[in-house]
């Protein structure tokens, strides 16, 4: 057992800190918290800075522009990034479709899509869930029928995050309905500018526009945009899911959120004493903090096992379940800290003119956070998976 950092790793950490100090500026931090186009532009700017440094794509093959960090280096980077308050990359291109493209795509697809993902020239979104099929992914009904060199796609995808910004969507579509539900599914890359695509905004409980429905009405998609073989899409998609669960855990971000929360709690006065001195709040903090201390090592165990070539394996469900539970517990504490101000919807008023600066943000994070136990395969489905494949029940 060894988790001490070597001299090289300590040097790398300094390098990361320096990069963050120079590039993650307060101005950028402000803009990335904005809405719509301001957010989009700032997010792209941030990703471009990472790309200029060569740090945008850990895990990608080096020949495609990836960075071959060790598990420890990756851990160091994520920890530092998060403690600095810098956001993760938008995962749909870099972490979700890219591995499918470099793993299962042909040479032409790699050349065509990967460089544009690295340069953030294409914004991707994910077309998995459907109105009738949530966590039961294989129940999908969006149909793609071959017509010459094109597929004709009809159907709808739902809960599509940031589809309103997207240039491309990667979709699971049904190309054969005759066999087992997992068979007959193909993996298509679809240009969002294609005629017949409509994006409908879904108003969500956090009053923030992130979710959408994407409707396909006789959308023509060249066969050249299919990844791998027809009807084998489920195999390609499945490889992604374990990774998705791991990254949903959000351990490093939760650490930062807890750190910031402790600071706010020591500033908030209740009955003449800082709220952090309240034993009940301390207990809630430490309940969560201790789970997170453990989960950080669960993640390291998974990463170490991956590095040993054993693959992330089925523990990824555990990471997803516990990670999202921790996130929600933290969100709840921010709400309770904000008290009455947790309910405030800002219209024309600023936080300062009303009360606490963080009540509004606390509420948004809380409401948006409800999704975390639902998406990426609901936590209930993760438990089913664990029961079946880990415990053999």
């Amino acid at each position: 057992m060894d988790i001490t950092f070597s001299a090289e790793e300590l040097a790398f950490r300094d390098q990361v800190r320096e990069f963050l100090a120079q590039n993650w500026t307060p101005d950028l931090a402000r803009r990335i918290r904005g809405e719509d186009e301001e957010f989009k532009a700032a997010q792209i700017e941030w990703q471009n800075k990472l790309n200029d440094k060569g740090w945008l794509a850990p895990g990608w093959p080096v020949e495609h522009g990836g960075v071959a960090w060790s598990v420890t280096e990756n851990f160091i980077f994520e920890t530092e990034r998060s403690l600095a308050g810098a956001p993760d990359v938008v995962p749909f291109g870099l972490k979700m479709v890219a591995p499918v493209i470099y793993g299962f795509g042909n040479e032409e697809q790699k050349q065509r899509f990967l460089p544009r993902i690295l340069k953030s020239e294409d914004w991707w979104c994910q077309g998995y869930s459907e109105p009738g099929a949530g966590s039961d992914l294989a129940a999908l009904k969006t149909k793609a029928e071959l017509d010459g060199d094109d597929y004709i796609v009809n159907g709808a995808k739902v809960w599509t995050t940031y589809a309103q910004y997207a240039d491309w969507i990667f979709c699971l579509v049904r190309t054969d309905a005759s066999g087992k539900r997992q068979d007959g599914i193909s993996f298509l890359l679809i240009d969002m500018k294609s005629p017949g695509i409509t994006v409908n905004k879904i108003s969500s409980i956090d009053d923030h526009h992130s979710l959408n429905e994407v409707v396909f009405d006789n959308v023509r998609v060249p066969v050249a945009n299919r990844i791998g073989e027809q009807d084998k899409g489920w195999t390609y998609a499945k490889a992604l899911l374990a990774h998705e669960r791991t990254s949903i855990a959000g351990v490093a971000d939760s650490k930062r959120r807890l750190r910031d929360l402790r600071k706010l709690l020591s500033e908030e006065i209740s009955g003449g004493r800082p709220l952090i001195e309240d034993v009940q709040f301390q207990n809630r903090l430490s309940n969560t903090e201790i789970e997170l201390m453990a989960l950080e090592y669960t993640e390291l165990r998974v990463l170490a096992s991956t590095a040993d070539g054993k693959g992330p394996g089925v523990e990824s469900s555990l990471l997803k379940i516990k990670g999202t539970e921790i996130q929600q517990a933290i969100q709840q504490m921010y709400m309770d800290l904000a008290g009455y101000y947790s309910g405030v919807l800002h219209g024309d008023e600023t936080a300062e003119s009303i009360g606490h600066a963080f009540g509004h943000d606390a509420r948004k994070a809380y409401m948006y956070g409800r999704a975390a136990t639902i998406y990426g395969g609901s936590n209930e489905v993760q438990k089913n998976i664990t029961a079946k494949y880990v415990l053999g029940l």
Partner: protein
């Protein structure tokens, strides 16, 4: 021993239920909340006509003379409809303070107008720094001849935007967190020196911050006695807590019903998700949470009706359980609705938001539990 409502109470409850059923579908509720006043004034007139605005007031002032049970019966049904009209703020809080004060002149001048629907009121008690401490009052009231002059700021004043009159807690003596030395003043919302900033809360309420800059109030407008406002506040907050918890119970019942119905229709893996045993057991937990909440509400109401010695302990216990069980039910309602639970079009999220605001009001479950602990274990 019985837990039945009287015939009169049943009629009252039914009339609210019918109103919600007929006049308060979810879309109508949305547009009522979107009204610049924060509610639909026509509904308010209906409430007046149906006699609801008179419920807690003494018969001598034209009231119905209702007690905690009557208020509970009404509020539970209002909860089911997510009614945004400021029954709590105007009738129970503002009206409650006047009603419990020992000041016939103020009662004469105002209660009738509350009952006929022509007067909207508010109670301004929260300050920026006060969190849930009702006695943490920095707003100052200085005597000047027959008047008092008020300076300070109140925040998150329920119905503060629409109120014609506001009762404000201010310090006339003592230190910032002392219970003694707090006085309640009845002021006109448009009196010189009153500055209002209105904004919305997530449950649809339109509230306001109120700045008081040298606001002059006649001594005759003191509600209750000088320096002794805290007792009045405490008593009314106790009544209103029961009312809000009854509203929360209505919401929980609605969320439980809605969730059960949804799981019966939602198909996943080829069957209705209501057939999954893990979800069934969680819905049983939701049901039990609702039933326990109902029981402790009944307990608090019985204590209030009988003016029991341990009323304060019962109220704190009630607020703890409503907060905790409400959270359990709200969380599970969203989770079991899956993606649908996250959409603003569905009513589920709106019920949950109102439950959350009720939990916060007068101190969340953790805060109330510490109060309970002090009452129960610090002999």
């Amino acid at each position: 021993m019985n837990f039945n409502l009287s015939e009169e109470q049943n009629m009252l409850k039914d009339s609210v239920a019918r109103f919600v059923q007929d006049e308060y579908d979810f879309e109508t509720r949305r547009s009522n909340a979107a009204n610049p006043l924060g509610f639909n004034p026509d509904n308010w007139q209906t409430f007046a006509e149906l006699g609801w605005l008179s419920i807690p007031f003494e018969e001598a002032y034209g009231g119905f003379g209702g007690g905690p049970t009557d208020v509970m019966a009404v509020m539970e049904e209002m909860g089911k409809g997510l009614v945004v009209e400021p029954f709590v703020a105007t009738v129970l809080m503002f009206g409650g303070l006047l009603s419990k004060s020992d000041n016939p002149a103020l009662k004469d001048a105002n209660i009738e107008k509350i009952i006929d629907g022509s007067l909207q009121g508010a109670f301004a008690y929260v300050e920026r720094q006060s969190r849930f401490e009702l006695a943490d009052v920095k707003t100052q009231a200085k005597r000047d001849g027959d008047d008092f002059v008020l300076n300070g700021e109140k925040t998150v004043v329920f119905n503060g935007a629409a109120a014609n009159k506001v009762i404000v807690s201010a310090r006339t003596s003592g230190e910032q967190c002392d219970e003694a030395g707090i006085t309640l003043f009845l002021i006109d919302a448009d009196a010189p020196g009153v500055e209002r900033t209105q904004y919305r809360l997530m449950d649809g309420q339109l509230v306001a911050n109120i700045k008081l800059n040298d606001v002059r109030v006649a001594a005759s407008q003191v509600v209750g006695k000088v320096d002794e406002g805290y007792t009045l506040i405490d008593s009314v907050v106790s009544d209103v807590t029961i009312a809000l918890c009854a509203e929360a119970l209505g919401i929980m019942q609605k969320l439980n019903t809605t969730t059960i119905e949804y799981t019966k229709t939602r198909q996943q893996f080829g069957v209705a998700i209501s057939s999954f045993q893990a979800l069934q057991h969680r819905m049983v937990d939701m049901f039990m949470a609702g039933e326990q909440a109902k029981s402790i509400l009944y307990r608090a109401v019985c204590a209030a009706e009988g003016e029991a010695d341990d009323l304060a302990k019962n109220i704190a216990a009630l607020k703890v359980m409503i907060g905790r069980n409400g959270k359990l039910i709200g969380d599970e309602a969203i989770q079991l609705h899956g993606g649908m639970g996250l959409t603003d079009e569905l009513d589920v999220g709106h019920y949950v938001k109102r439950l959350m605001m009720i939990n916060t009001t007068f101190g969340d479950a953790d805060y109330q539990q510490q109060k309970f602990n002090r009452l129960a274990y610090a002999e």
